[in-house]
Amino acid sequence: MAFTQRLCREIIKDHFGPIVERSSRISPSFAHNSFLQKVANVLLNKGRLPCGAIALFAKLTQKQVRECLVVLIQHNIAYYAEIAERSRIVVYYEVSEEEILLRIRLGAILRYSGEWFGKEGALVAQHILRNELVLFTKAFTNMVRERFLVAVQAQDSISAKDRAINAEAAELEKLLMPPTAKELKNIRKLRDDRADAEYHSSVVIGMKRKLAESVGNQAKRHAPEVLEEVEEEFYFRINNDRYNIRFRNEVIVNYAVDRINRSAGIVTKTMLDHGEEKMRRTKEDKSPAVTAVQISQLIPATINLETDIVLESAEFTANSLPSKQQLVHEYLELLQTDSAGFLRKEDERGAGLYVVAFDKLRDHLKRKVLDSVVREKYGSASCRLMKILSEKGKLDEKQVRAIIVVMVGMSYFTTIVVRMALATRFVISLICVQKLALLPAKETRERLATLGTQGYLELQEVPKAADRAPSRTFYLWHVPLNQCYATLLVDLYRTLGNIRQRKRDEISARSRLLDKAQRQDVIENQALLSEEEQEHLRLLNETIAKLDVGELRIDGLITILRDI
């Protein structure tokens, strides 16, 4: 946890710290920024606090703290909660680590906004991120319509958990008697359903829309031809979920290109683009369904699918080329049979409906990241061992635990018998491991031990004798996949923290030079910089670029581990 916090601090420092202050107009004064950092740090370290306590810890006045909190809430980093304590209501504040960590991706968000909505799009995103006034341009309208921007609502400043608790409390209020367990369950389910429905509704809040069927309270009805407009009384923020959906889709398309080929990528992309409008979260199990016919209609005629697939059936000879629909069908077949499980057939009747199997792909991609990290760091043999253990060694953990619990109540002799039974099974499996992996026993043991100390494997020791001597103990290995992913994610956060710190150091070490380079007269006349200074500047730029690339690629891994 400490490392996530550290990265959070780094991000806040980066986004609200002196460097930002120098180059942008994000907030009025330098002092303000350092206050902001203090407040954020206090909240990061101590968790939820009321204003007074924050002031105490941050050694600021309550007024200063309140100002900072406003900024943090504006940026959607902080939440508040009103809690009744005896007769009065106390307001607690907290910062959300998740939201801060999402800010790693701001650079990517800016870049892609530019790519997807033109220069204007990038500008809009930039303005929104800085909490500045935005002109309602066309790009802006588009971004709202496609939900890359969403209207800020009052409840956004309350954490999701609090919202759930409040909703539940409101329901309970209506009851006369304390609820039964079943009633409580119903209420919770109702609450979750409602939240879900809200999330999945097709009404875009803050926009006068033509498509909405149900009557939203803010949106006015218009005939379809009427241009859509953004309602002016709303404030908007970046919708991270929406951006992440795009990022995820890109990851999947790239992977299809890597694994199969360019045309398979096109087919996948067509499917994802088609359903994108209906996607709300990255954690969905599958994409909206499409038929093969739809897909082949959606693929532009200019794209030639046939050059890179070799069909062997006799029907397709040189003079009767396969139709586009046939080709699409072939690619769907390929994507479906691929072991990464890109597609799934939803409906066996007729031509069939296809969906992109996010659930399966998610597991596959995560596993791939883990495998490649293990392979790079510990060698391919270790990666192989882990694969074997996680595939063949599934038996162990649960059964072992269960058996050990049972053993507590047994006589010593029975215990030994059970232990032996248990152990022989595993001894066989350990031998299996080394046999399956075609690795020498000694190497196998060493590699397993290394992976164990690095937290990629879990070890269960089953001593054969009461003295627990290592030579008379069976070692049962197990791959805790989810834990591996979590550890890896934290390691990546930690690395990002390191890179950012280093980057800040590199910049501040040459701050004088940078100051000079950014002076108006110097910008106009580069000759004012000495040759040496120019060389230094070039070096600095290269250094930063290298660090940025590293950061970006690691962020790609984080996307896969966290957001897909």
């Binding site: 550290r6 890597d258 694994r259 199969i260 080929n261 360019r262 398979a264 050059t307 890179d308 697939i309 070799v310 069909l311 062997e312 059936s313 072939e330 077949e333 390929l334 479906q336 049979t337 691929d338 072991s339 495998d371 490649s372 990290v373 392979r375 790079e376 760091k377 391919s380 990666c383 192989r384 694969k387 074997i388 031998i431 046999k435 399956l436 992996a437 075609l438 690795l439 020498p440 026993a441 390691d491 990546l492 930690r494 690395t495 923290g497 390191n498 890179i499 710190q501 280093r502 150091d505 590199e506 070096l539 290269e542 250094t543 290298k546 590293g550 690629r553 690691i554 790609g556 891994l557």
Partner: protein, 345 residues
């Protein structure tokens, strides 16, 4: 006599299947047996694992069933026949004439030890198990083993699974694959270099059959039927003389499994009228009817993109002191030498 001519066939034609009836190169029928006893002895000799009770009638139709019990009793009394229990049926195995003589001359304890070793077959037996089974004193066992070894009736072997265990088996047997580890072992040591070479060759072969030649981004359709099976891969390896040893199909499959674990290839269900799939629910044990698994290579990473792993590209990903590095501790990013080096241009 039908049975006799059968055994004759076995002798003459070494290629004939000897799955059950084993070839006897020189079977000495003990003297002083009756004709029927001799016939029984010869017939039973064809079965290394012993002739089953149920097989008697069909294998030796010449002897009436009622007589058979008598013959069995007299043979086993003379020490030429052992009775084994396989599951809940009985089987009868002959004891070779020369052996019977040797055993008859042994002392009681040695015979016990010998019998246990013999029962272990080509798996060998661990001295500890031997002690447990015979209930003899360790010293006695050691003495017996020495005596037997001296007479060249048993030999010590090494088991790849348990290199530290002292194991014994009959002198004339050759250790089973379990014991030697199979083709991948040379002198009880895994021959990693050899394995790697064969694996590489397999991968290349599969790769060449998985993608159309000469078109860098092209693929075969899902209905493509040219993916190789393990048998075909084995043939290729044998034909190309990469290995001087005769690799069995199981050896090749073990190697292919390793390639699968390494993510280099994958196993595919054979094509059934277009509907195929690398369905994970198919477990390996379900030998999919007569159809064989086919193997497909995964595309190699494209050059230019993702040639290195993102995390290990930055120093922290391969840093030996990663766990000790903190923002302001003795090891920290600001003064980190690995970055220093990495950022040098």
């Amino acid at each position: 006599m039908a049975s006799k001519s059968d055994s004759q066939d076995d002798l003459d034609d070494p290629s004939s299947s000897s799955a059950r009836p084993s070839k006897k190169s020189s079977l000495v029928v003990p003297p002083n047996l009756s004709d029927q006893e001799a016939l029984f002895y010869k017939t039973a000799a064809k079965f290394t694992l012993g002739i089953r009770e149920g097989q008697l009638e069909s294998e030796i139709p010449e002897i009436p069933v009622v007589k058979i019990v008598e013959i069995i009793n007299s043979l086993s009394k003379k020490g030429f026949l052992e009775i084994l229990f396989i599951g809940n049926t009985k089987a009868f195995r002959i004891v070779k004439y020369e052996e019977a003589g040797k055993i008859a001359s042994m002392e009681m304890e040695t015979m016990m030890v010998y019998k246990q070793i013999k029962a272990a077959g080509n798996e060998g037996i661990w001295t500890k198990v031997l002690k447990h089974k015979t209930n003899l004193h360790q010293q006695v066992i050691t003495r017996c083993l020495k005596a037997l070894e001296l007479k060249q009736m048993i030999k010590a072997i090494k088991n790849v699974k348990y290199p530290t265990r002292k194991m014994y088996m009959l002198y004339e047997l050759s250790p089973s694959v379990e014991v030697t580890g199979g083709a991948w072992y040379t002198d009880q040591e895994l021959d990693t270099e050899f394995i790697e070479n064969v694996a590489k060759a397999c991968y290349k072969f599969i790769y060449s059959r998985s993608f159309p030649r000469g078109q860098p981004d092209a693929v075969f359709a899902a209905s493509y039927s040219g993916l190789p099976t393990a048998t075909q891969i084995r043939r290729f390896i044998l034909d190309s003389k990469i290995s001087s040893i005769d690799l069995s199909l199981d050896d090749i499959i073990a190697l292919l499994d390793v390639l699968i674990y390494d993510g280099k290839i994958e196993k595919r269900m054979p094509v059934f009228g277009g509907a195929t799939g690398a369905d994970p629910d198919w477990s390996d044990d379900e030998a999919v009817g007569d159809a064989e698994w086919r193997y497909k290579a995964n595309r190699e990473r494209k050059a230019g993109r993702e040639e290195s792993e993102p995390w290990t590209e930055v120093p922290c990903g391969r840093c030996p002191v990663f766990k000790f590095c903190t923002a302001d501790g003795p090891i920290n990013p600001s003064s980190c030498v690995y970055y220093q080096k990495w950022l040098e241009f």
